[in-house]
């Protein structure tokens, strides 16, 4: 085995292999950095080279692409608050918060370093693990998979410790929205209002962009500053980030290990792992007050994990032909194009290729992180630019990213609607991550529960694996509570009255106009969902009904809590947000009538001239930059945009 290990290492360090891998890495970084593109677009760039290429070299190039996508998308998560892909959603929470505090360079450099080390740890684990992984992967039956989704869902409790009921209600709404589309147990369609677009459910990219990115843009426009509202020194942040990683090496190693192991579980990894590790970072921290407001640990944990997950996800991909994550699915497609059939043969007859893949994975992680570290400083200075200048460019980028999800007008409309929900949630302090976690895990929770019950009956939940994960879930719920209890006892012993008073004051439930709007909106949605699924079979219906139950119980509990304790009325002004949202919908309307390229160009120009009030030549330059970017993307990545009257006339 050692000789195969070394010979594939020699293979990796040949010149053609390195050159093509570099090509893969560069393309991977480009598509990683541009939100919404991801692996599929990178793949279509590599395809022309792939045919007839030497297999090991082609594998290196593919691996270069696949390995660095979760590295590159960190830029968008940290700098713009845009979740680049499903692997970097949790990074947005603290990464973007740090950028707003003027510490973008710090967040980026620790993210990249954590990515690199996480990826390396993942590769090392994979090297040994791939030989013995088969029985372990097979021991994860549908009931363990179901418990893992539950573990992911329990992170809602960790993340919303202050406003538990609102968090659970938000998660319930996420579960309900995630249930739109086909019922896995019966193939029935539900909650789709008869709209074709909703038959597949709303794409994750659209939900992520709507719930996180759009509200941030509107918020920043309302504040009229730059992203970083503190002045910052870039060089210092860079070193600080590296020091942070050194300080948090234990957390980093744990998260990389969690990532690479959960990554090996087929069909789940990509979606739960960043929330699991983020939750772990929160749970294991002594001082949690800064999470969500810019705690570097909230960046290091998911970033270390997502590159490790990319390594772990190779196990089900190579051994069973079942992709463990979105990028692994792309890699699987590449294998098929090369005429390689994944399966047990990858270990028995192609072990050399398997190790070439693993070594390339490790090397690509290093190359990707080094390139990104080099870019981190200069790119971080974006956060010092006045936001009004960036806003039109980011808005175009978000529309572009959302449209690539399914290339239908529905993507843009859904983005606006989810964005509205995001704005409401953000203004009223409802947990947006809880909603996202519910959405992401809805399909897994429903499918695996049904399958576990169907396959194994009641015995499904008497398995040792289930018990172990069950204990972890219990810990997720009990630990914060126990810690809180201990803390308050300590506080009362030291009779620190001041602290106790502020605590009780801050935990007093607040209520505002938006809260009332959300409560009534939830009620309407619940009633609609109840009636929509009324005619369905029990199996098709039980999951949405469960989500309805969660929303009603959590919402009811929150209302009860307000009745018992005195409520603090909070004014929640919304006028400005409504104006911006109206503007966004008009932009979508414009895109759909005159076409994307022309409306994006005109919108950027008009916004820069009349709102940002920058010099005309600069506005013209930026707007034509937008136009050129979109045209280049269309040509190189064979993308399409919403076409309209003006576009079809101008661009054919």
């Amino acid at each position: 085995m050692i000789d195969i290990l070394l010979s594939s290492l020699g293979q990796v360090f040949t010149l053609p292999h390195l050159l093509y891998m570099m090509l893969g890495v560069v393309i991977g970084l480009i598509v990683g950095i541009i939100p919404g593109l991801g692996g599929i677009a990178g793949m279509s760039l590599l395809l022309p080279f792939l045919y007839g290429m030497d297999t090991t070299i082609a594998l290196g190039m593919l691996m270069g692409l696949v390995a660095v996508i979760p590295t590159g998308d960190t830029f968008a998560s940290v700098l713009l608050g845009i979740p680049g892909s499903s692997a970097s959603q949790a990074t947005v929470l603290d990464g973007f918060a740090l950028a707003k505090r003027g510490q973008a360079a710090r967040a980026l450099s620790s993210a990249f370093l954590a990515s690199m080390i996480g990826g390396l740890i993942g590769a090392v684990i994979l090297t040994a693990f791939i030989l013995i992984a088969r029985p372990l992967v097979l021991s994860f039956s549908s009931s363990e998979l179901f418990m893992l989704t539950l573990l992911g869902l329990s992170m809602v409790a960790v993340l919303s410790s202050g406003d538990m009921f609102k968090g659970i209600a938000a998660c319930g709404l996420g579960l309900l929205v995630g249930g739109i589309g086909m019922a896995p147990a019966t193939g029935e369609f539900r909650l789709n209002l008869g709209i074709d677009y909703l038959y597949d459910g709303i794409p994750l990219v659209v939900i992520g962009l709507g719930i996180f990115a759009l509200p941030e843009i509107i918020d920043l426009l309302a504040k009229r500053g730059s992203i970083a509202n503190h002045p910052c020194e870039l060089g210092k942040g860079w070193k600080q980030g590296i020091r942070d990683v050194k300080q948090q090496r234990g957390l980093l190693a744990r998260c990389a290990a969690i990532g690479s192991l959960v990554g090996t579980v087929p069909g789940l990894a990509g979606s739960v792992v960043d929330w699991l590790t983020y939750g772990h970072a929160v749970q294991s921290a002594k001082d949690r007050s800064q999470f969500g407001k810019g705690d570097i640990r909230g960046v290091i944990a998911p970033e270390a994990a997502n590159n490790a997950t990319a390594c772990g996800a190779m196990v089900p991909t190579l051994l069973f032909g079942i992709p463990g994550s979105g990028t692994a699915a792309v890699f699987l497609g590449g294998l098929m194009l090369l005429g390689l059939q994944p399966g047990i043969g990858m270990i028995e007859t192609h072990l050399d290729l398997t190790y070439t893949i693993i070594w390339s994975l490790a090397l690509a992680n290093i190359l990707g992180a080094v390139l990104c570290l080099g870019l981190a400083g200069p790119v971080a200075s974006l956060t010092r630019i006045r936001f009004a200048i960036l806003a039109p460019l980011i808005t175009v980028l978000i529309l572009f990213a959302a449209f690539q999800a399914t290339r239908s007008a529905g993507d843009l409309l859904a983005l606006g609607l989810v964005g509205t929900l995001g704005v409401l949630f953000k203004r009223a302090g409802w947990s947006r991550p809880a909603f996202l976690i519910g959405f992401v895990l809805a399909a897994g929770a429903e499918t695996y529960f049904y399958q576990a019950y169907q396959f194994q009956g009641v015995g499904a939940f008497a398995r040792p694996g289930v018990a172990i994960i069950g204990l972890m879930i219990l810990a997720a719920f009990l630990l914060p509570w126990i810690k809180g209890l201990l803390q308050s006892r300590r506080q009362s012993q030291t009779s620190d009255l001041g602290a106790a008073v502020t605590r009780s004051k801050s935990s007093l439930p607040t209520l505002g106009a938006i809260d009332l709007l959300i409560f009534s909106g939830l009620l309407l949605i619940v009633i609609f969902a109840w009636f929509d699924t009324r005619e369905m079979t029990l199996l098709g219906r039980v999951f949405p009904v469960l989500a309805i139950g969660i929303i009603l119980v959590a919402g009811g509990a929150e209302i009860l809590r307000m009745c018992i304790r005195s409520v603090k009325w909070e004014t929640q002004p919304m006028r400005e947000e409504i104006v911006w949202l109206g503007g966004f919908f008009s932009l979508v309307g414009l895109v759909l009538t005159i076409g994307f390229i022309s409306s994006a160009t005109l919108f950027s120009l008009a916004f820069l001239l009349f709102f940002a009030k920058i010099k005309p030549w600069l506005a013209l330059g930026l707007a034509s930059g937008v136009c050129i970017f979109l045209l280049t993307m269309a040509h190189f990545m064979s993308l399409t945009y919403p076409s309209g009257i003006l576009d079809s006339w101008l661009f054919g």
Partner: protein, 371 residues
């Protein structure tokens, strides 16, 4: 196993690949204007694939691109346009409304495009009668059970007929539907557990021991199930068979030693299968397997252009190099072309009232699904 086969043709393919990039770099028309053949085939052809990059149908379509490009008059550039969504319904709908009928637009379809059309899915806005098939790739499939169910095929079949077992499937009306019909006609008590996202996940459930019966299409069977059969973990029961030129179900050339469903049915019931249930099996087998993947042109494309495509296909199919590569990449089946595919397809795509009624009743009774 198969990873080194393309080496003998590296040069032309690589050359073609760079041609693709070059043409993508230049704006439309620059490349195409140089060609003016008497059949006036456009220089740029868009090949709509209603599935994502790297999926089964995408890989299949990409395999054919260089062959068509080489053998069509004027060696046009063929660009693949992936339009995933709605399980291929979206892309096919788009093609139905937008495709030009001058030979510049072709479409790849698969079982998941054919089935909804046959079942009158409300989202389908395309009609197979509007399209002319150029080429079809068949695939077969094998039903197998866990090694614990018997010593050999016969005893395993007997156990299967007596014991209820579970089968990890995707949806009631998906690719497994003909298999589910077949198993029901045999008189077995197979309960499908739905919600698998691929046949691969189904196989994983079988390997975990959660499902005792499973089904895989030919290439997946050869790659992943044969090792299990050799290790005694799986016993193959029957293949679905294959259509011959006259449209009769015969033994699958990939599995000449395996009985077909028809043979097993005869062994169990003492007579050949007939009736609306069997018709439903046959038609969905034909459109989902025997003609699984199709390349289509709009009907109103000029006849000489349709002929140009057909000639190109029959030319490269007789090329021994094609046979070698196709064997390695697509499995041991020769594509069906010309009038044969057109005739077969016309026979399959419309269900008789009796068949439809039977199917609607069967789906409702078994899975509570209404058509």
């Amino acid at each position: 196993m198969t990873h080194d086969h393309p080496k003998n043709c590296v040069l032309p393919k690589r050359f073609f690949a760079f041609g693709l990039i070059a043409s993508a770099l230049m704006l439309n028309g620059l490349v195409g204007s140089a060609q003016a053949d008497e059949t006036t085939l456009p220089g740029n052809i868009t090949f709509t694939v209603p599935f994502g990059v790297g999926g089964g149908t995408d890989v299949w379509a990409r395999f054919f691109v260089p062959w068509f490009s080489e053998h069509l008059p004027g060696e046009p550039t063929i660009m693949i346009d992936n339009v995933p969504g709605g399980g291929s319904i979206n892309g096919a709908n788009l093609f139905a409304t937008r495709a030009r009928s001058d030979g510049s637009a072709i479409l790849a379809t698969s079982a998941s495009t054919q089935f909804p059309a046959m079942l009158d899915d409300s989202r389908v806005r395309y009609d197979y009668a509007d399209w002319t098939p150029i080429l079809a790739s068949p695939t077969g499939g094998v039903v197998y059970v866990s090694g614990g169910m018997g010593e050999n095929q016969e005893s395993a079949l007997e156990t299967l007929l007596e014991t209820p077992v579970q089968f990890a499937a995707q949806t009631p009306t998906g690719l497994e539907m003909p298999v589910l019909i077949a198993l029901d006609l045999l008189g077995t008590e197979v309960t499908p557990v739905f919600g698998m996202r691929s046949r691969g996940e189904g196989r994983l459930a079988f390997e975990r021991g959660e499902a005792e019966i499973d089904f895989q299409t030919t290439s997946a069977y050869l790659n992943s199930v044969v090792p299990m059969v050799e290790a005694g973990q799986a016993i193959p029961l029957f293949s679905l068979g294959m259509l011959n030129e006259d449209g009769e179900l015969v033994r699958d050339p990939a599995f000449p030693d395996l009985p077909t469903f028809n043979e097993v049915y005869e062994r169990v019931h003492g007579e050949a299968p007939t009736g609306p249930g069997y018709d439903a099996f046959r038609q969905f087998f034909a459109s989902g397997y025997a003609l699984q993947k199709l390349i289509m042109l709009p009907n109103d494309t000029p006849t000489e252009i349709i002929e140009a495509y057909r000639n190109a296909a029959s030319e490269f199919i007789s090329n021994p190099r094609f046979t070698d590569e196709s064997d390695a990449q697509l499995g041991p089946y020769e594509p069906v072309i010309g009038n044969v595919v057109e005739r077969h397809l016309a026979n399959v795509m419309t269900l008789e009232d009796a068949t439809r009624d039977w199917l609607a009743e069967w789906l409702d009774r078994q899975y509570g699904v209404s058509l």
